[in-house]
């Protein structure tokens, strides 16, 4: 249940950036989370309310863009959709792959007032 640490990390970034921009509050936060990043969205939503309490994010709308996993086989260069981190290349069955997309864990943008 590291999602609480993740949520607190998001709060920290939002607090810093809001302060830098001389703003008072965040009205909307955009997050990008990959399906291979190791974060359960359900758990993140579960801890979200308690993590943002009394922070600049308290009244912010949260928008999460989920990024699907994309791998590229190191042996045969095939690009393939990845549902799991252990998916093998569908073309040559190799275990050696690079993960091109799906590990994202980012605060993309904040809308502040």
């Amino acid at each position: 249940m590291h999602e609480l640490s993740i949520a607190l990390g998001i709060v920290k970034i939002a607090e810093n950036e809001t302060k830098k921009a001389n703003a008072k509050q965040v009205t909307k936060i955009e997050l990008e989370i990959g399906t291979l990043a190791g974060v359960e969205l359900e758990s993140l939503n579960f801890v979200w309310e308690s993590a943002i309490k009394n922070s600049v994010l308290e009244f912010a709308e949260k928008e999460i863009t989920v990024i699907k996993g994309l791998g590229k086989c190191i042996d045969c260069d095939t690009e393939f959709d990845m549902e799991f981190i252990y998916d093998v290349c569908p073309n040559c069955k190799s275990n050696f792959k690079g993960i091109l997309k799906g590990k994202e864990l980012r605060v993309k943008a904040l809308e502040v007032i």
């Binding site: 640490s5 607090e15 758990s43 922070s55 980012r106």
Partner: protein, 274 residues
């Protein structure tokens, strides 16, 4: 705080102690309420109001492009730890596993067998108790215990504080025993040189694909309790294949911390890691 596994960060933050030290030196870790935020500022302080009109009056809302990694804070401090280790030629290992795989037993045996050849330091991570630190302390190895409270993993700032307290000498090996948990610690780089995942023969052979993130981020996989192989229903080759499917670069050691079988190969790697 969390109903799923009960984890979260206590109000006091982690407690970082040497054996025998008293329990008051706690350090604030997470600040839920960094900076004071008063939503009523505008009502109360009218002179504050003038400041916010530097920008155009039409655009009350402003969009800030952030594009920042959520784990950046942890990564920055991990990099700082890593630089410190490199400068002092400290080889740091992050030992991870589920509870009960034998992390502490492997550590105890390793320290007991090699302490005359190698200078060791240990950081123990557990939610509660000094038990593991006391086990290491009994071997006369410098050790710090981090109690994470409700936290389910170590983070780089805790290791940073613990390392400062340990006063590690140059050319040493630092063993960081993470909280027993095969999920959460995988995301948190501590600045270690190598991550060592431990699995025992009493666990299912499909564990690597059930908990792939930990195997994906590890460099070494120690399979412990091989002395129990005659009594348990596990296919080690299958386990290895699952692990390699997640991470084809994993290097394996099969050991028994109880009988000492297989430990020599692990010691060989520790003395000259490749």
């Amino acid at each position: 705080m969390c109903g799923t596994c009960g984890c979260g960060t206590g109000k006091e933050g982690p407690i970082i102690l040497k054996p025998g030290e008293h329990k008051h030196a706690h350090k604030e870790h997470h600040h839920l309420h960094e900076g004071h935020h008063h939503t009523h500022d505008e009502d109360h302080h009218h002179d504050d109001h003038t400041h916010s009109h530097d920008h155009s009056h039409d655009h009350k809302h402003k969009v800030l492009k952030i594009e920042q990694d959520i784990l950046q804070n942890n990564q920055v401090l991990a990099a700082r730890n890593r630089g410190y280790f490199e400068a002092k030629n400290i080889f740091a290992l992050n030992l991870v596993s589920s509870p009960g795989s034998g992390k502490t037993s492997i550590l105890e045996r390793t320290l007991a067998d090699l302490k005359d050849e190698i200078s060791f330091y240990v950081i123990e991570g557990d939610q509660q108790t000094m038990n593991d630190a006391n086990r290491i302390d009994a071997l006369n190895i410098p050790v710090i215990q981090i109690n994470t409270g409700k936290g389910c993993h170590l983070e780089s700032d805790m290791v940073y504080e613990a390392v400062k307290k340990l006063e590690i000498k140059d050319n040493s090996i630092l063993m960081i025993e993470n909280v027993g948990n095969l999920v959460c610690p995988s995301m948190f780089d501590l600045g270690e040189n190598k991550r060592v995942v431990i699995i025992s023969t009493t666990e299912g052979e499909d564990k690597p694909i059930k908990y792939p993130d930990m195997f994906y981020t590890s460099d070494i996989c120690i399979i412990n309790k091989i002395d129990l192989l005659p009594y348990v229903n596990i296919n080690i080759e299958k386990l290895k294949n699952y692990a390699l499917q997640v991470n084809p670069n994993l290097q394996f050691f099969e050991v028994s911390a109880t009988t000492g079988e297989g430990m020599e190969a692990w010691y060989g790697w520790l003395k000259s890691p490749s």
